[in-house]
């Protein structure tokens, strides 16, 4: 499965919600691989790549959280100036829109891993593969 599953969680802007999420995941023995927190004045969306997304979703729902699931793509980008730019340049030139992106916690050798959410995921994957840009498959990502 070349795509990676990301879970997203709705958080009201009140004390303790974020802490509760991390508590639930921690007690469930789930590791967070990558995360991003987007916020507005009323609410936030916490996006996570975790070691076991099925279990994470189930645990969070049991604790009353609203959880969504989306397919994202983990791209290996050269860890040097211009590395990210060349990938974005390729995508932009082919009309692929990036909804959001964030970096992966764990680095591999001389590359950084960026998590991308695309508007057209399949076309984006095809394009990246055509240009030999490495993609880390979901299963590998969860266990890094």
């Amino acid at each position: 499965m070349i795509k990676a599953e990301q879970i997203s969680i709705f958080l009201e802007n009140r004390a303790g919600r974020l802490e509760e999420v991390t508590r639930v995941l921690g007690e469930g023995g789930i590791s967070i691989r990558a995360l991003s927190l987007a916020d507005t004045s009323d609410f936030g969306i916490l996006r996570l790549i975790v070691s076991d997304h099925e279990k994470a979703k189930q645990l969070l729902k049991e604790h009353g959280f609203t959880v969504g699931r989306n397919a994202v793509v983990a791209v290996e980008v050269s860890d040097a100036p211009g590395g990210l730019h060349s990938v974005l340049h390729l995508l932009c030139g082919n009309g692929i829109n990036v909804e959001y992106m964030y970096a992966f916690v764990h680095q591999r050798e001389e590359s950084a891993v960026i998590i991308f959410r695309f508007d057209r995921t399949d076309q984006a994957i095809e394009l990246l593969q055509q240009h030999h840009i490495p993609i880390i498959p979901g299963d590998t990502l969860y266990n890094i």
């Binding site: 709705f10 958080l11 009201e12 009323d42 609410f43 996006r47 609203t66 959880v67 959410r117």
Partner: protein
């Protein structure tokens, strides 16, 4: 289907002649037996013998909720207390509860009206009726109960509470009719879903919902989700309880009022002048057959309009349209009149939102502010901020376009809005804090 065929299809002239005879007899009775009414009639300069036509109703004095409170507990009884076989009381949110008494015949009449109501909703003696209205001093539970037994249906007196268990019973008993508040039906639906029960798979086919205002959009939402016909029933404990008016399943367009038992009018709440049919105003009810506690021109504070045109179901009883809210439910936000039910209607029409909402009204300096809190759920939720913001903006725009007031829309977590087992508390007015 019509329970009391002769009465419910009585031609208007005969119905009005019946109403006049009954009105005259009621006036005789209250004048003779209830000191409150004797004084009220004398103050208004009118005697029961002055009532010669239904148009003379306008000369009779009004009765207000405060009058019931002032005569607490049994001051308005028109019969000796020994003849009263039942007492009900409505919760007094401010001050004392209002008490209502019933004779044996009042109870039988009420049960009959409820049987008519179930029949109008499409139910028969072959149905299994699950009653989730509270049993006790509240008229909902026992009113619905006696009516169901009168109909001859299999009656399940569950009362309120124990939501998870209620969902299981709905499934285990194969109930076909559900009676509760519309907001509680959604609570039950949710609980059932969590227990793996889909309402659409149950034999449940009819919902008889009342005790709080609800919109046509909420009805459509309920009917689609649950695979049932959702019928509006109206009543108030002061004049009887549930069963004063009910929608017919044939039209689902206005609730037929039991006009052989209640004489209705709509007045301008400010000038108190009676309004012509079709105009919106406050519903005023005069009981025509109550023995223990008859009421003359009781001001319900419910805002509605009346329709006397013929209905396809064949009943000749006039219809009242959805109560927009009690005149005291209405909020005034920066000078604009807003009913929670209007916001509800817009909410349900705006695609993608759940029906769980709360209006929070605050005062910011000298200006009122209105915030509409809406719960998210899995279907509505998106991982993209902009999609959620667009949803908030859409609702805000719809409210502005329709009501002319700018509300702040805030998405909140599921279950963060308190679920109630009875009437939903849609408004949190923090302006006096």
């Amino acid at each position: 289907m019509i329970f009391d065929m002769d009465i419910e299809t009585l031609p208007r002239e005969e119905l009005e002649a019946l109403q006049l005879r009954r009105l005259q007899r009621q006036c005789d009775k209250v004048y003779a037996n209830v000191s409150f009414y004797r004084h009220a009639f004398d103050d208004a300069g009118i005697k029961p013998s002055d009532i010669k036509s239904l148009a003379d109703l306008r000369y009779l004095p009004f009765t207000e909720k405060q009058d019931l409170r002032n005569n607490y507990p049994f001051g308005l009884f028109a019969v000796p207390k020994d003849n009263v076989v039942r007492i009900h009381a409505s919760s007094g949110t401010t001050g004392r509860a209002t008490v209502v008494g019933y004779t044996q015949r009042d109870i039988a009449n009420w049960a009959n009206m409820m049987a008519r109501a179930y029949t109008a909703a499409g139910a028969t003696r072959r149905d299994i009726i699950h009653i989730a209205y509270g049993y006790g001093l509240f008229t909902g539970g026992l009113g619905a109960h006696y009516g169901a037994e009168r109909l001859g249906a299999t009656t399940v007196p569950v009362s309120g509470g124990g939501t998870r268990r209620q969902a299981m019973l709905l499934k285990d008993f194969g109930s076909t009719v559900l009676c509760c508040t519309p907001s509680y039906s959604l609570v039950l639906y949710e609980a059932a879903r969590e227990a793996g029960i889909d309402f659409k798979d149950l034999p449940l086919r009819i919902g008889v919902f009342g005790a709080e205002p609800w919109s046509d959009n909420m009805r459509r939402d309920i009917e689609t989700k649950m695979g049932i016909k959702a019928i509006d029933i109206y009543g108030l404990s002061e004049v009887m309880g549930p069963g004063v008016a009910v929608e017919c399943v044939e039209a689902q367009h206005g609730a037929h009022i039991m006009e052989d038992q209640f004489l209705v009018e709509v007045i301008d709440p400010v000038t108190k002048e009676p309004l012509p049919p079709g105009e919106t105003g406050e519903l005023v009810i005069t009981t025509l057959t109550k023995e223990a506690q008859p009421l003359i021109r009781y001001r319900t504070r419910d805002i509605t309009r009346l329709d006397y045109t013929p209905c396809c179901c064949g009943r000749t009883f006039a219809r009242m349209f959805r109560v927009q809210g009690r005149s005291d439910d209405m909020l005034i936000i920066r000078g604009v009149n807003v009913f929670p039910s209007q916001i509800e209607s817009i909410l349900l029409e705006t695609e993608g939102l759940t029906p769980y909402y709360q209006l929070v009204v605050r005062r910011d300096g000298n200006l009122d502010t209105l915030a509409v809190h809406v719960e998210v759920d899995d279907k509505l939720f998106s991982d993209e901020i902009k999609k959620l913001q667009r949803l908030e903006a859409k609702l805000q725009k719809n409210i502005k376009d329709f009501l002319g007031v700018t509300a702040q829309v805030k998405l909140v977590e599921p279950r963060s809005i308190q679920r109630s087992e009875g009437k939903a508390q849609h408004v949190l007015d923090l302006r006096n804090e």
